[in-house]
C-alpha cells in the first residue's frame, strides 16, 4: 500500500500542477499535429522535428537579442514564424503534389523529412546541449496550498487555455477555418464550388507548424535543448491525437490531459515503471473506444 501513501501525500498536488504545465506543451504540439492530420490527412512524423527546430530557433533569437523578458517574448513570436516559414516551403514544395498518396507513403515521407531536419539542426547548431535561462520576470515561485510552484509553470498553465480558445475561434469563427473544416470532410466538393483548396491546405499546414514551433519555444527554458528531443515528443503527440480522435482539437486537449497526468502521477505511484502508464492509458482508451474519445473528423 506504499503507492497509496505516495498518492495522498502533499507532493501529489505539486506533481499534478507540474504535470498540467507539461500538458500545455503536449497540447500545443499535438493540436498542430491533429489539425494537419484531420484536414490534410498527413500523419506528420516531422512534427516533432519542427518542435525541436522551434526550440533551437528560440535559443538563437534569445541569445541574439541579449536575453531578458523582451527577448524571450520576441522569441515566442519569431521562432514559431521561422518554423511556419519552413513548413510553408515543405508544403508547397513536396506535400502539395502528394496528397493522393496512401498514408503509409506519407508517413514514411514525413519520417524522411524528420531525418533530414534532425541532421540539418545538427549541422547548424552542433550536437551540444543548449539552454535558455528563464527570464527574470518568471523566476521565483508562488505559494499555492503551501507548495512552491514556479512562476513559469503558472505561465504555461495560463497559456494553454488561451491557445485552445484561440484555435477554437480560428476554426469555428473565421472563414478560413470553416473552409478548412469543409475540406477535411470533402476536399473535392470544396474545390468544386470554386475555392482554391490548395491554399487552404497550405494555411492549415503552416498553422500546424506554427504551433509546433510555439511548443518548442515554450519548452526551451524548461529543458536542455538537444538533438533527439523530437523523438520522444512526436510519439507522445501521435498517441494523444489518436486517443483524442483524429483532427479533433478538444480531443487533443483531453488526450494531452490524460497523457500528462498519467505521466506525472505514474512516476509518483511507481517510480520504476511510471513511464508505462501513459501508454497503458492509450491502450485502454483505444480498446474501449477504437476511434478515440471524441469524434474524429474522418
Amino acid at each position: 500500500m506504499g503507492w497509496l501513501a505516495n498518492l495522498v501525500s502533499t507532493g501529489t498536488l505539486s506533481q499534478v500542477l507540474v504535470g498540467l504545465s507539461r500538458t500545455t506543451i503536449l497540447f500545443i504540439v499535438s493540436s498542430g499535429l491533429t489539425l494537419i492530420l484531420g484536414v490534410l490527412r498527413i500523419p506528420n512524423v516531422a512534427h516533432g522535428s519542427l518542435y525541436m527546430l522551434g526550440a533551437f530557433s528560440a535559443y538563437t533569437v534569445i541569445s541574439l537579442l541579449g536575453g531578458g523578458l523582451s527577448a524571450f517574448l520576441a522569441a515566442l513570436v519569431i521562432a514559431p514564424m521561422i518554423v511556419a516559414a519552413f513548413g510553408f516551403v515543405l508544403e508547397r514544395g513536396f506535400f502539395s503534389y502528394l496528397y493522393d498518396r496512401e498514408h503509409l507513403m506519407l508517413l514514411l515521407l514525413t519520417f524522411s523529412f524528420a531525418l533530414i531536419i534532425g541532421d540539418l539542426v545538427k549541422i547548424v547548431w552542433g550536437s551540444e546541449y543548449r539552454s535558455v535561462t528563464v527570464p527574470e520576470f518568471f523566476q521565483g515561485s508562488a505559494e499555492i496550498f503551501g507548495l512552491p510552484i514556479p512562476y513559469y509553470n503558472l505561465f504555461l498553465l495560463l497559456i494553454g487555455p488561451f491557445i485552445a480558445v484561440f484555435l477554437w475561434l480560428v476554426i469555428n469563427r473565421t472563414k478560413m477555418g470553416k473552409i478548412a473544416r469543409a475540406a477535411a470532410v470533402d476536399a473535392e466538393m470544396v474545390s468544386a464550388v470554386g475555392i482554391n483548396v490548395g491554399w487552404v491546405f497550405a494555411f492549415t499546414f503552416v498553422l500546424g507548424c506554427f504551433l509546433a514551433g510555439l511548443g518548442g519555444a515554450l519548452i526551451a527554458p524548461m529543458v536542455n535543448i538537444s538533438l533527439g528531443m523530437d523523438h520522444s515528443l512526436i510519439m507522445e503527440a501521435f498517441l494523444i491525437v489518436i486517443m483524442g480522435g483524429l483532427g479533433n482539437i478538444w480531443g487533443a486537449l483531453l488526450g494531452s490531459l490524460i497523457f500528462g497526468l498519467t505521466q506525472s502521477l505514474g512516476i509518483l505511484i511507481w517510480p520504476q515503471f511510471g513511464i508505462v502508464f501513459p501508454y497503458l492509458a492509450v491502450v485502454v482508451v483505444l480498446f474501449f473506444r477504437p476511434k478515440g474519445l471524441l469524434s474524429p473528423t474522418w
Binding site: 498514408h103 549541422i123 515503471f273 491502450v283
Partner: protein, 309 residues
C-alpha cells in the same frame, strides 16, 4: 520460376563462400545483412502481402532477441531450446497484440500497435533486475560451434535460407493467395467466404515469429541485446527497407535491407550525417519509385506478359 530457382541457388553458393575470402569484420556485416533481410521480409508478409499497417515490427525482433538472451543467460537449458523460445515468445506476443489491435484498421491499427509496442519497450527499458534495463545484456554464452564469427555466419545463413524458403512457400500457398486477396479487396474476399480477420491474425503471428527468428540470430551474431532494438524509430527503418526494395515483390525487402545496411557501414566512414543521406534517398524513392528499386526493375525489364501483380 525455374530461372528464379537457379538464381537463388547461385546466390546461396556465393553466400556460402563469403567467409573464405572476407575479413572478419565483413563476415560479421554479412551476417547482419542476412538477419536484417530476414527481419524486413517478415515485416513484408504483414504489410506488403497482408496490407496490415504493422508499424512496430521491431518489438517482435526485440522480444525474439531478449527471449533467447534471457534463456541463455538465466537458465541452464540447452542453447537450442533458447534459440527456439525467443521466436516462440515473439509469436505469442504477436498473437496477443494482434487480438487487441485487429478490430481496428489502417492508421488506427498502426498507432495502437505502436502504443502496445512502446509499452513492451518501456518495460524492457526499465526492468533493470530482469532485462538489464537500458544497458541490455552483454556477453551471452553460446555453444562453441556457433560462437566463432564463421560459425555464427554459417548458422545465420542456414537459418535465414530456411526461413526464406518457408516464407516463399507461405506466400505461394492458398493461405498466401487469400491474404493477398484480402489486401486488394477485403469486402469482396469476405463476401466469397474468406474469414478476413482470422487470415490477418495468422499473418501477424507468422510475421512476428520470423521477426523473432531474426532477433535470435542477432543474439548469435552480436552476442548482446539492448532496448534500442525495439524502439519505434527502428521499426520505421525496417519499413523503409521494405519500401526501398519494393513491397509488392518477395525479394524486395532483401534488396532494401542489403542496400541500407551496407550503405550505412560504408557511408559512416566518411560522414556523420547518415540520417541526412537516408532521408534524401527515401524522399527520392517515395516521389519517383513508389514501388521500390526491385519493383521498378521488375516493371522495367520484364516483358509485359511475364509481369506479376
Amino acid at each position: 520460376m525455374k530461372k528464379t530457382h537457379v538464381a537463388f541457388f547461385l546466390l546461396l553458393a556465393a553466400l556460402c563462400s563469403l567467409p573464405l575470402f572476407l575479413p572478419r569484420f565483413y563476415t560479421y556485416i554479412a551476417a547482419i545483412v542476412l538477419l536484417t533481410a530476414l527481419l524486413a521480409t517478415s515485416l513484408n508478409l504483414a504489410i506488403g502481402y497482408g496490407g496490415i499497417y504493422q508499424f512496430h515490427h521491431a518489438v517482435f525482433y526485440g522480444i525474439g532477441a531478449y527471449g533467447t538472451a534471457l534463456m541463455l543467460t538465466r537458465t541452464p537449458m540447452p542453447a537450442a531450446l533458447g534459440l527456439l523460445v525467443g521466436p516462440l515468445a515473439s509469436a505469442l506476443l504477436s498473437l496477443v497484440m494482434g487480438v487487441i489491435c485487429i478490430r481496428l484498421s489502417k492508421l488506427y491499427f498502426g498507432m495502437l500497435q505502436i502504443s502496445l509496442g512502446s509499452l513492451v519497450w518501456a518495460t524492457v527499458y526499465r526492468w533493470y533486475s530482469f532485462t538489464g534495463g537500458d544497458d541490455g545484456i552483454h556477453g551471452i554464452p553460446l555453444p562453441d560451434r556457433i560462437a566463432t564469427p564463421d560459425g555464427a555466419y554459417y548458422y545465420t545463413l542456414a537459418v535465414t535460407a530456411l526461413c526464406f524458403f518457408a516464407m516463399h512457400r507461405i506466400v505461394g500457398s492458398p493461405f498466401g493467395k487469400a491474404l493477398q486477396g484480402i489486401r486488394d479487396n477485403p469486402v469482396r474476399s469476405s463476401a466469397i467466404g474468406v474469414h478476413v480477420k482470422a487470415h490477418q491474425l495468422v499473418a501477424l503471428v507468422i510475421a512476428g515469429f520470423f521477426g523473432g527468428v531474426a532477433g535470435s540470430l542477432f543474439v548469435v551474431v552480436n552476442n548482446s541485446v539492448f532496448p534500442d532494438m525495439m524502439f519505434w524509430t527502428f521499426s520505421l527503418e525496417v519499413l523503409i527497407m521494405c519500401l526501398l526494395g519494393g513491397m509488392y515483390t518477395f525479394f524486395g525487402p532483401l534488396a532494401g535491407a542489403s542496400i541500407l545496411v551496407l550503405l550505412r557501414v560504408f557511408v559512416s566512414v566518411y560522414t556523420q550525417y547518415w540520417s541526412l543521406l537516408l532521408g534524401a534517398i527515401l524522399t527520392l524513392v517515395i516521389i519517383f519509385l513508389p514501388d521500390g528499386v526491385l519493383g521498378y526493375a521488375v516493371r522495367r525489364f520484364r516483358p509485359v506478359e511475364g509481369r506479376r501483380a
